[in-house]
Subunit: 155 residues, 2 copies
């Protein structure tokens, strides 16, 4: 596939200068594991953005489409479409707001909750298998690192 005349050495700047590569190596590993985790899906084949709405509702409870759009960083018309798609799949329910008739309340259905749980279960299962291939000492290292990574993730 690759033609022999055009192969250049994959020289990263960090390695060329001899500078520390922990950040770079960590970035590559993190990115690759995240991609493999994303590939583990639940029952329903959802786009990542649609699944994101489910997790947000799972975490924060029912929200208006506008609030969801803010939270997911999309525009309101896009969220209208996303919510309608999820409603057609029976994963969310659109309800009237109790006092403000302009608003719509988007609520996760039981199927929606189940989809979030199942997807997380499969992703955790994949990662758990990988952890089981490590020694107890290595798992301790990763447990300690998890605390640090969590701090970084929320920084």
């Amino acid at each position: 596939m690759t033609i022999d005349t055009a192969c250049q050495p994959p020289a990263s700047n960090a390695r060329r200068t001899g500078a520390p590569t922990v950040a770079s190596d960590l970035r590559v590993a993190l990115t690759r594991i995240a991609r493999r985790l994303r590939a583990q899906r639940g029952e329903v084949d959802l786009a990542e953005g649609q699944f994101g709405v489910l997790t947000t509702l799972h975490k924060h409870g029912a929200m208006s489409p506008g609030a969801l759009a803010d939270h997911e960083n999309v525009r309101p018309p896009s969220m209208t479409r996303t919510v309608n798609t999820l409603a057609e799949h029976g994963l969310v329910t659109k309800l009237e707001h109790p006092t403000d008739k302009r608003q719509v309340v988007v609520e996760l259905s039981e199927a929606g909750h189940a989809e979030v749980r199942e997807t997380r279960r499969r992703r955790d299962q994949w990662l758990t298998k990988r952890l089981q291939e490590l020694t107890p000492e290595e798992r301790d290292t990763l447990a300690a690192a998890t605390k640090l990574l969590t701090r970084i993730a929320n920084a």
Copy 2:
């Protein structure tokens, strides 16, 4: 935004059962950091799939559109479009294959190489800043964890 009647407790299965949550916590942290890394872009505003083609060419050298499609898990017509877009931006060059006139050779231009380098530089910079906020001991822990995560990523 959230209406008070519909908030349910965010009870994950792992926590409810008291089972170990390292895998789950690690997954959450990994996913979140990866998302924040992806948000660090280079000069040109490229979709993640388009940038993926640049990194593949950066790593493996010039390839045919078909080989790129295989590598990136998209269909050939999609890769044709992607490559044409990248070529219009001056990030890749389409060349004739030396012996097989059916084939096209897609080569990363100097601007393409620079885009890959710059994007990686910004992502490494973001992560380096986060690492600098840790103690030396914590950095040692993450350095050790990086080796393990790299192994997992490639498993």
